[in-house]
Every structure is written in C-alpha cells, then in structure tokens.
C-alpha cells in the first residue's frame, strides 16, 4: 500500500479547490477521530498485513487482467484488456474498500456499522465484512433502488444486516446518503460509517481511494507482465467514482496513460436528464464536499436519471473534479441506450455479463477504439458483475422472468 504517492489532499482535505469537510459540528469529532486513526494505521505493518491477507484470502485478489480477444477483434484496433473486479468475492470492486474500513472500525472499537448503497453492491460488501466480524449493520437504500436492485436487498438481509428503505427526496443514492449521515449524527459515539465511494467529507475520499488503489497497483505490474508497457488508456465508469479512482490513482504520475471516466448520460446529456455532473454540472457542496454537482439556477440539487442505480448520483468525488480541471483525466458520458447495447454485446462476445454501471465504460469503446492503432493496449475496469441487473434489463427488453 503506497499511500503517499502525491501530497493530495492537503491537510484540510482539499484537492485543489475541491473536497473539504462541510458537515454539521456534531460530526467534526468523528471525522477527526477517523483521520487520526487512519494516519496512525496506514503505515503500520500489522495493519497492512491484515489488509492484504484479507484481500488475498477472503476477496480472492489479485483479480486477473484478462485479454478480451473477441472484443478486440470486434473493434479491430488496439488490444482490449479487462480488469476483472467482477470476480472479487461479492462481485464488485466495492469489497476492497470495505475490507479496509472495517479494519479501521475494529481498531476504533466501534460496535455498529452503517452504510448507504445505490446498486446494492456496497451494501452487500459492507454487510459481508460486518458479518465476518459479528458487528451490527444497517444499510440505507433509496426506495426506488430497493425496487430495482431487489436481489441485492435480499443478499444484504441474508448477511444479517438491516435494510432501511429511504423515501425522502428522489429515493435514490443521494437520499440514502442523507439518511446515513442522519443516523451517524444520532449514533456517532458507537457507530462507524463506511462510505462507499470517494465522496463525502475528508478524510473519506482519501481513505476510499487508498484502499481501492490496490486495483491500480495490480494493473501496473500486470501491464508490465502481459504487454510490457504502461497501458495507453484506462476506462472506468464514474458515479461517485470509487472504481475509477482506484484504477486511476497509481497512474496519475504516468502521463502516457490516458485516464477516461465515463459518466451516466441517461437520456442524453443534452436533455438534462442524466447523472453526469462532470459533463454538465457546476461546483457545489453536497454530502460534505465541494465538487462538481448537478444543481438548478437557485442552488438546489437536481434529480438524476440513469438506468444504472450505482451511477444515479448528482455529485462526484472531489478528486475527479480536480483531475478534470487539471486535464489529467478525461470525463465523457454515454446514454442509457448505449450502455444497454454494450451490456448485451459484452455478454455475447466475452461471456461476461457486466454490471450496468460497468456497461457504461464498455459503451465508450465505440468512440475510443477509433482513436487507437493495433499496437495500443486499452484497459477497461470491469467494476462489477451484472447478475444484479438481470431483472432491470429483462424488464426493459419486455421479458418476464
């Protein structure tokens, strides 16, 4: 775990002008406690050994970097490689972060775990690690997401956690986060809040990024081993941005690798009905951080639209805003329709059913692969598997299961 590769965020939690700690006073103590614990443990050998042991033995890391032969042929330009986070235990990259954070919770002596979830993957990953340590666990989930991700809701319950359906606001991920923050304000003394993305107040964007950077670290050595160079591009979907950040972060210093984040274009960015704040937002404060945000002309947070519950969020992690403004990463958006088309294509061409979130990254290959020649190597971060989305896709295709 090389956690000090660059000096961001600064001591106040800012990446350039983005990030920070915008929370009610009640939470200041908890955030300081978390920051102190993390600073103390992140370079502690015993802590690091435990983290990597769990990732190896419980999660099954490292995840393979797999050559997508038929997809490569399909485009006929560069080689396409898939980082198989979908093969992790629980089926997505989300487990990497929860493995790390539950260790922090344990060291801090917290007895109660809370988390928000959109697609349910973070809820499952949190319920999983909480079960493993025998800790009480509560998952907040927007009622709309409870409907469209019912499989994951049941998985969370099987793991012994309680699911709290949230009806307020737009009843999606942002509202689940609001409710989790309210729980935390109320039960702050004995509760650890495992945030599931590189969002929220400092130190969360840093902690979640660091734990999930295991993905990018593996990619560096796997790229050397498999094609003996740095990749020409890494493509990842961006909701809050944790899978992208984990893959991008170790590559920030390698300028030869293009970093491309794909946001949820919903009905199309031009329609305003989407979840793409980096493409069509302005800086604002939501959930404790300043970052690009979808907001209306009086500063209210706008509703979002995406076929993918995990990307259906009006904000984005502050480090992505910084990477956008500095030009180090590029952020594009693809529509629901394009993502659904890619969902089917990848399933049929590669025998891998990707999560609808991941399908957004695949969909952008239609544009991106035209920019590369045969000697190039493109990595797609397969953030999760698509089993959870089968009902949603079947519904759209008019099929009753």
């Amino acid at each position: 775990m090389k956690l000090d590769k660059n000096n961001l965020p600064d001591k106040n939690g800012f990446f350039g002008e983005y990030g920070g700690k915008f929370v009610p006073e009640t939470l200041m103590y908890a955030l300081e406690e978390l920051e102190t614990t993390y600073e103390k443990l992140k370079n502690n050998n015993e802590f690091k050994e435990q983290f990597y042991k769990d990732l190896s033995e419980f999660v099954g890391r490292p995840s393979p970097l797999y050559f997508a032969e038929r997809l490569t042929k399909h485009y006929g330009t560069g080689s396409i490689w898939l980082k198989r986070e979908d093969l992790n235990h629980t089926g997505a990259h989300k487990i990497n972060n929860t493995i790390g954070q539950i260790l922090l919770a344990k060291y801090m002596g917290k007895k109660r775990i809370i988390a928000e979830t959109g697609a349910g993957q973070h809820g499952v990953a949190t319920a999983t690690v909480a079960a493993r340590l025998g800790l009480e666990c509560h998952i907040y989930m927007g009622s709309e997401d409870v409907q469209r991700q019912s499989l994951n809701v049941y998985r969370i319950k099987l793991l012994g956690a309680q699911v709290h359906s949230v009806d307020s606001g737009s009843a999606t991920l942002k509202d689940a986060l609001n409710e989790a923050l309210r729980d935390w304000v109320t039960n702050v003394d004995d509760t650890y809040y495992i945030i599931g993305s590189v969002t929220g107040p400092h130190p969360y964007p840093m902690i979640v990024r660091d734990f999930n950077s295991v993905v990018g670290e593996e990619l560096i050595s796997q790229s050397k081993e498999l094609f003996d160079s740095m990749p020409d591009a890494i493509v990842a979907c961006v909701g809050g941005g944790s899978n992208a950040m984990g893959a991008f972060y170790p590559f920030i210093k390698f300028n030869e690798t293009r970093l491309i984040g794909v946001e949820a274009g919903g009905e199309g960015v031009e329609t305003g009905e989407h979840a793409a704040p980096l493409n069509d937002g302005t800086p604002g404060v939501l959930h404790g951080a300043l970052s690009y945000l979808m907001q209306d002309d009086s500063g209210q947070v706008k509703g979002t639209k995406s076929v993918s519950a995990g990307l259906d969020y009006p904000g984005v992690g502050p480090e992505h805003s910084w990477l956008k403004d500095t030009g180090r990463a590029e952020y594009v958006a693809v529509s629901d329709d394009a993502a659904l088309k890619a969902f089917h294509e990848v399933s049929e061409l590669e025998g891998i059913i990707p999560a609808l979130e991941t399908a957004h990254a695949f969909a952008y290959l239609d544009t991106l692969m035209k920019e590369f020649d045969k000697n190039s190597n493109i990595i797609v971060n397969v953030s999760g598997r698509g089993d959870k989305d089968i009902n949603t896709v079947a519904n759209i295709d008019g099929i009753k299961i």
């Binding site: 006073e25 908890a30 304000v185």
Partner: protein, 261 residues
C-alpha cells in the same frame, strides 16, 4: 449594532431568557409564512429563525425535512425569501431575523447575502459547516450580518473555546446527538457543556434541537440564555395548513414563553 445584538442585550439587561422560533420559508406558502411570523411576534417570540429550504437537509429530522419538501414544491428560492422578508419588514423593523440553511444555497446565492438590501436580515446560521468557520471563509462576506456558530455535545474542549470565541450574535448549542426534532435530551450533559461555552463566549448561549414541551424549555432555559423551538411548531404548521387555523401555535408559544420567564 444590529437587531439581534440589540434584542439579546435588552433581554440580558432585563434578566430574561430569549425565545427563538423556527419555521421554513414558504411552508405552506409565502403569504402564510409572513402571517405566521407576525403571529410568532404577537405571541412573545423574540427572534425568528427562517429555514431556507434545501433538497438535501442532512441535519433535519422527518418533520422539518417534509417542510423543506413542501416549500421546494412552491419553488421557494433564497431570492423569494428576501422578497418575503422585505414584505415582513414593512410592519416590523425590530424583530431579529436569522436565516438558517445549508452552505450550498448561501454560496450559490452569494450576491443576495452580500447585498442584503435594506439590511432586512440580521444573521445567518449555516448548518453544515464546522463551528469555527463562517460564511466569510467560503467567500461570502457581509460585515453587517453576524454568523451564529453551532457547538454540539461531541465538540471537544479545545474546539469549544475556539468556536465560542469566534461566534457572533449567539452561540447555538445543539442539545443532542441527532437531527432536529429528536428526543434524547440529557440535561446534565447540556448544563455542563453550556457552562464550558460560557467561559469563553462573549455572546449569549442558546439551546436548541429536541425541545418539545414547556417543561423541556423550562429546564434548558435554566442553564442557558434562551431556547430555540423548531420541529414542534413546524409540525403544527403542517397540521394546520389545510384550515389555516394556527391558534394552537399561539397557545403553544405563550405556554413556552411563560415557562422560561
């Protein structure tokens, strides 16, 4: 010196406790909000806190969340709130008015706060910033508006000192771990913390969050300089919004006022 400081000084000189009442602007509608503000003053409220509706009010319990939602359905913006306050000021230039809301609204509408046309607003309370910081730290500056800081039961001693010394208008002591309208008051802890704040603060310390009954108000007024009532009034506003009959609120405020006198 603005209205808030004047009012708090007057109360202090008379050895009286302050009664602050909260409502959400535009709930049930802007006209009724102005009427309710008048009713507050007639019934004995010293300071009015005007909630600025926000889509994601993370510090609010269900009662006030719903009020924010109702106001947003009426498209209540900060601009509209300033117009509303202008209207109120035509008949009342004495009652201090505090805007209570979330940072994004204030930085997004920076010009409105910096302008504060005709000085209608006296103070701003931003719920989602750490106690030691002020709007000025986020680039919104108006020296005639004071910034009320919050201190909570989890604030450590070194921060209590920092925040208390930094506060203007009054210090808002959040009486519980939780959201507005919750019910887990711990009077011993509150008394101890308010005493600690008073060591450092040059302004009064008022207590809010979770005060429901006249009895709660009485207990808390004994250890603080006044109390802030929010959720229970907002609940009565919600229940009376169909009939527009708010006599219950009048009775409730009078009862609280007597309890803290």
């Amino acid at each position: 010196m603005n209205r808030l400081t004047n009012t708090l000084d007057e109360l202090k000189n008379k050895n009286k406790k302050a009664l602050v009442a909260y409502l959400v602007a535009g709930d049930p509608d802007i006209e009724m909000t102005i009427e309710l503000m008048k009713l507050f003053v007639e019934s004995g409220v010293d300071i009015i806190e005007i909630g600025v509706p926000f889509t994601d009010p993370i510090a609010e319990g269900p009662v006030i969340q719903k009020a924010h939602d109702r106001a947003l359905k009426n498209n209540v913006s900060l601009k509209l709130i300033f117009e509303m306050v202008d209207q109120f000021r035509k008949n009342d230039n004495k009652t201090p008015l505090v805007l209570m809301g979330y940072l994004n609204t204030f930085i997004f509408n920076k010009a409105l706060i910096e302008d504060n046309k005709n000085d209608v607003i006296d103070s701003v309370l931003v719920v989602d910033i750490p106690g030691e910081l002020k709007l000025k730290d986020y680039g919104v500056h108006n020296p005639n508006i004071n910034n009320i800081s919050l201190i909570s039961p989890t604030t450590k001693k070194d921060r209590i000192e920092l925040i208390a010394k930094n506060s203007s208008g009054f210090v808002y002591y959040v009486t519980l771990r939780g959201v507005t309208g919750a019910s887990n008051l711990d009077v011993n802890e509150i008394t101890k913390n308010v005493e600690e704040i008073k060591k450092y603060a040059s302004v009064p310390t008022l207590a809010g969050f979770g005060i429901k009954s006249a009895e709660d108000a009485k207990l808390l007024s004994q250890c603080s300089d006044g109390v802030i009532i929010g959720s229970s009034i907002v609940q009565m506003i919600a229940e009376g919004s169909q009939t527009k009959e708010f006599d219950r609120i009048r009775k409730y405020i009078i009862e609280i006022k007597q309890a803290i006198s």
